[in-house]
């Protein structure tokens, strides 16, 4: 993270930490509304170990986790107070494109609806403009994590 990309600092507010942190750039952010982030899994990254032995691919469940973490970024209010929430539902998730090592994944999440301590997001992962996965993710049990 550098001063050139001040938005990236919000990533530090996520409860997830490496090696289970799957967001590395924040490109656009409207707190409480939407986020556009990015992640690249380089060749040799642990997520490719035996997935698959002869054809390294980003696992679909890792992609879902990346989209959930991006949604977590969108939940952080403007003042930067950390928010803790838990993945509660994955709905209508469709995988439309394989993702290979080194491909830059754009993660987009937009709040669809919020009720109490739960929030549902429309999410999309894409590579070079092609949709790789899209669906809806609900984060629940949200609370300040300061």
């Amino acid at each position: 993270m550098t001063d050139d990309r001040p938005l990236d600092r919000v990533i530090d507010q996520l409860p997830q930490k490496p090696p289970f942190l799957f967001v590395e750039e924040v490109l656009e952010l409207e707190p409480g509304v939407r986020v556009k982030a990015a992640k690249t899994f380089p060749d040799g990254d642990r997520v490719f170990e035996n997935h698959l032995p002869d054809e390294p691919l980003v696992p679909g469940v890792i992609l879902i986790e990346a989209l959930a973490q991006a949604s977590g970024l969108a939940l952080i209010p403007e003042d930067g107070t950390p928010v803790r929430g838990y993945l509660a539902e994955v709905d209508r998730m469709r995988f439309r494109r394989l993702i290979h090592p080194g491909e830059r994944i754009i993660l987009e999440s937009t709040l669809e609806r919020r009720f109490g301590s739960a929030a549902r997001f429309d999410v999309r992962a894409s590579v070079e403009g092609e949709t790789a996965a899209e669906g809806a993710i609900t984060i629940a049990g949200m609370r300040n994590d300061a």
Binding site: A88, E89, R114, F115, G116, A118, T138, A140
Partner: protein, 88 residues
Amino acid sequence: MATDAQKTKVKEMLVKHLRLRMEPGEIADQAPLFGEEGLGLDSVDAIELVSGVEQAFSVVIGSEDEARKVFVNVDALADYLVERGGLS
């Protein structure tokens, strides 16, 4: 006041959209939708329920406050939908 037939439509929507493992007829008209004593729905279900009401009855619940007022039990939700023209 909603009729029994209208309440049945509400119960059918609840079972379908919330994927409840029960029959519509097993839901009492006045059973609380949320909390341990009733259907035991939670905030994630509430989000689904707002979507379900929109899809099934073309009624948009505009705010969380409004939702809290009508997501009390089947009676309250059915009466609200009759009032808003979603149930005829």
